[in-house]
């Protein structure tokens, strides 16, 4: 089966790239799953978790990441996830994210709370 070439790119670095069989991301109009052969697509991402089911050379497995806004573009079996901030869930410190979430809640800092929640969600699907 054909594979997707996925690039996960943050503003200041390339976070991850490799081959995948399925990518699930959350756009502003709902979750979307992209498999090889999908129609060319350009969507606006919601802050949330992205799940990449890897395949081919990269090996079978699942990679998940937290993306804070951004875009998903897909054409000719090349999929790019472009986000200002993107973190692989394995790079996220769960305790720290939880602490940040608690602190944001107590300080009623909505932006920080949302960021922390996105991180926690990405960790949960790991």
């Amino acid at each position: 089966m054909a594979e997707l070439h996925v690039e996960l790119v943050a503003a200041d670095r390339k976070v991850w790239s490799g081959e995948a069989s399925l990518v699930v991301a959350r756009t502003t109009s709902g979750d979307i799953g992209v498999m090889p052969g999908h129609q060319p697509l350009l969507g606006v991402l919601e802050p949330g978790a992205v799940v990449i089911r890897t395949a081919g050379e990269t090996g079978e497995g699942t990679v998940s990441a937290a993306v804070h806004g951004g875009f998903i573009t897909f054409s000719e079996d090349k999929l790019s996830l472009v986000a200002e901030i993107a973190e692989l869930s394995e790079d996220i410190d769960t305790d720290r994210a939880q602490r940040a979430l608690d602190r944001a809640k107590s300080e009623a800092d909505e932006a920080a709370e949302r960021r922390a929640e996105v991180r926690m969600r990405a960790v949960a699907v790991r």
Partner: protein, 314 residues
Amino acid sequence: MGAQTRVYKRRIKSVTATKKITRAMEMIAASRIIKAQRRVAASEPYASELTNAVRAVATGSNVKHALTTEAERPSRAAVLLIVSDRGLAGGYNSNAIKAADRLTNRLIGEGKDVVNYIVGTRGVTYYRFRERAIRESWSGFTDNPSYADAKAVAAPLIEAITADTGAENGVDELHIVYTEFISMMTQTPVDDRMLPLTLKSTAEESAGVIQDNIKRGPEVRPLFDFEPSAEQVLDALLPRYVESRVYNALLQAAASKHAATRRAMKSATDNAEDLIKSLTRLANAARQADITQEISEIVGGASALADASAGSDR
């Protein structure tokens, strides 16, 4: 020691001290170029992915949007000039400012008002001294810009371009002037129209499309599915696009600044070396003159004494 020799010694000492400083600055700049270059390279994937996305929307939809459509009668243009906070970088700042001046004159010639946005103390003082209006300015991060800095710079620009032109803040065009980092030895100031997307780049793009078509046969470019809609995608893309362009320009300007500093400091060090060499020659000559004078004084004194004692013997 003669007075002349002492003066030369003192000057050699002070030039040596200056040389040490310029050599240190040269080495600091050299190490920073590498870092800055790496950051430029690291920001490239994001910028190119975003440009691809913008291209996809521009070619794959016919939505009217500030990002893609030109105003019928553009009356006001914003110019963002990126220079550095500090000098000691040869012609780096003045070259970028000159490029901005040229662009400003051209825009005024086209009948547009120019609104200035400036990054870097050097540019701000230049404009202040000439009593030119500055809409907004930033400084303090030109050596090492972060994405947050780029966002701070881009925010008022985005606001201005999305605002109605009739409104007080609105502009029709967005230009950016910065120093492009081509290589260690070459950095050139460039002016670029960020928005609306330049005809030049679209011409290049369409040339690319045509070439692609030649390669792949007359294939229709894929029609994109926009999620949720083309307008909303553009609305979301516009600020990100501007931010990433500003970020990339800031990083390139920083790398260019370091390269210019390194070059300026290298030639300063070389000059100091030349100066030390010629001063050492002069100091040696002066010392030799002192010695010669002293010897001739001694010889003169001795022969005077000999003459006097020879006279008394008689």
